[in-house]
Symmetry: C2
Subunit: 266 residues, 2 copies
C-alpha cells in the first residue's frame, strides 16, 4: 500500500532526513540512496529498499513501477510526498524524484572471497566520500571484487559515497578493518599487496602484478604510513612529471588498477 | 603594512567572502585560494595574491614570512583577522590560517602554445569543480600543457576547483571556448583529438597516440555528443568489465592521459 505524507514533522520524513547524518545512519544501520538509476542498479543487484519515497510530481517510468511492485511484494513501505518535502530529505535544490532506504550489510573481512576476483582495491584512511565512491565505481569497471577500507575511512554508506559509486556500492564487496586485522587476514592466503611509492620501487608500467592483486591507496593528505609501504609485496612508481608529488587518491587507484588489469590478463 | 581587521561588516571581509560566489568572482575578475601550500605553489609559479589574509592565531612559518614579504614588496595588501572571521570567509569549520585573492588571468585559446607540451586535456561541459581541479592536477602529473574547457563547464577559479587542483591551477594553462571555436582552432595546426568511445573505437592500450595529443573528456552525466566523437582523430575503448558503462570523468581523463604518456615516450 502506498501512503501519502504531507508534513515535515511526519516521523517518516524525520527518519529519512536523519539518515544524512552518520550518527543516525550507524544507530539505525540504514542508509539512503537517491534516484531511479541507483535504485534500479540496486534492484538488479538483488537489493531492495525497505522504504521507497517518491515525489508526487515524478515522471512515470516503467522501471519505477517495477521497483514499487517489488518493494511492495517484499513487504516494504512505499510513501509519496510533494517535491519540497523530498528536497528536505535529500538536501538538494533539484532532488531526484525517488529515494530509498536500505539496510546496511556486513562489512567484515570474513565475507571477502579473495579468489573470486583478480583485483581488490584497498584504501587507507580515505577521508573523502566522493573518492570512496569513485574507487567503488572504478572497481566495478576493472572487474575488482570490492573495496577494503583500512583504519579510519569515510563512511561507504554516506549519501555522497553511494552517489559517487554510481551503483557499485550494490555490486562491489565492501569491508572495513584496521591495518593489523587486514594484514593478518591477507597473509592467511594468496594475495599480492601493491602500492605506489617513491621509495624502493619499480616503474608501475608492466610491473609483475599477480592475482589476487590488492592495490593499496593512502590517505589524501598524508599518503601511506611508511611501515604500510614496507609491508607491500610490490612498490611501483607512477610518473610525476610536474611540480606535485601525488595524484588524487581515486585517480591513483584507477591508474594502478588499469595497469594491473592489463598485465594480469592472458 | 599589515592591517588588522576585526568586524564581519568590514568591507575587506565582505569582499573576500563574496568571491565564493561565481557572480561576484566574474564581476571582480578575482578568485580565492586557501592555505599556505597552495599560496606557496602560486608564488613559486610566479603568481602573487593581491591581498593576503592571515589568521591572528596562525602558526609562524618561514614560507609564510617569505610570502608576506613578497606580497608587500609587490604593493599588495596584507590583513590579519581572528580565526572565526577567516572561517566566515572560507566557509569551513577548520579554516586554513591563510588565504589570498588573485586576479584572474586570460583563458582564451590564443594563449595556448600547442607544441609546448605533448598532452593537453580537453573537457566538455564538465560540471563538477572537483573533477575540473582533479584534471588540472593530473595534467601537471603527466606533463600536460593545460586544460581546455569546452562549452558550459564549471568555473576553474572556484574555490573547489582551485583546491582540488592542488596548485596546478597556477602552472597549467586554462582555456575556455565553445566547440566550434575549439575545433576551428585545433585544425589550424598539428593536434590529434582523442576520446574514449564505445563506437568505432580501438583498444586504448597501445593505441597510436601522437603529440600534441588532445584528450577529450565528456560531461559527467551525458558523455560526449556523438558529433564531437565523430570529429575525433582517434577513438579508443577502455575496458568496462562491470555493470557500469562509464568511469568518473577525472578518472577517465587520467587513465587515457597516462596511456598516452606511455605511448608517446621514446
Amino acid at each position: 500500500m502506498r501512503r501519502t505524507i504531507t508534513g515535515f514533522s511526519n516521523p517518516a520524513v524525520k527518519f529519512l532526513r536523519s539518515l544524512r547524518d552518520k550518527k543516525y545512519r550507524k544507530r539505525e544501520q540504514r542508509f539512503l540512496a537517491e534516484g531511479l538509476r541507483l535504485l534500479t542498479d540496486a534492484r538488479e543487484a538483488g537489493r531492495l529498499p525497505e522504504l521507497l519515497a517518491m515525489s508526487s510530481t515524478r515522471t512515470p517510468h516503467p522501471l519505477l513501477d517495477a521497483l514499487e511492485a517489488d518493494v511492495a511484494a517484499a513487504g516494504g513501505d512505499v510513501i509519496e510526498m510533494d517535491e519540497a518535502l523530498l528536497a528536505k530529505i535529500t538536501g538538494k535544490d533539484n532532488p531526484q524524484s525517488v529515494c530509498g532506504v536500505f539496510a546496511e550489510w556486513g562489512t567484515s573481512l570474513a565475507q571477502i572471497d579473495r579468489v573470486a576476483a583478480p583485483i581488490w582495491l584497498v584504501a587507507q584512511a580515505l577521508r573523502d566520500p566522493g573518492n570512496l565512491g569513485t574507487l567503488l565505481r572504478t572497481g566495478d569497471a576493472v572487474g575488482a571484487g570490492g573495496l577494503i577500507l583500512i583504519d579510519d575511512c569515510a563512511d561507504p554508506f554516506s549519501v555522497e559515497a553511494v552517489r559517487a559509486s554510481m551503483g557499485a556500492i550494490f555490486t562491489q564487496a565492501v569491508a572495513q578493518a584496521n591495518w593489523a586485522e587486514f594484514i593478518a587476514w591477507l597473509r592467511q592466503g594468496a594475495g599480492q599487496l601493491v602500492a605506489a611509492s617513491l621509495r624502493d620501487a619499480q616503474p608501475y608500467r608492466g610491473a609483475p602484478y599477480a592475482a589476487p592483486c590488492f592495490i593499496l591507496i593512502g590517505n589524501e593528505s598524508r599518503g601511506l604510513p611508511q611501515d604500510y609501504e614496507h609491508a607491500c609485496d610490490l612498490r611501483v612508481t607512477v610518473p610525476m612529471l610536474g611540480r606535485a608529488d601525488s595524484l588524487n587518491a581515486a585517480v591513483a587507484g584507477a591508474v594502478l588498477a588499469y595497469e594491473a588489469l592489463a598485465n594480469l590478463k592472458p
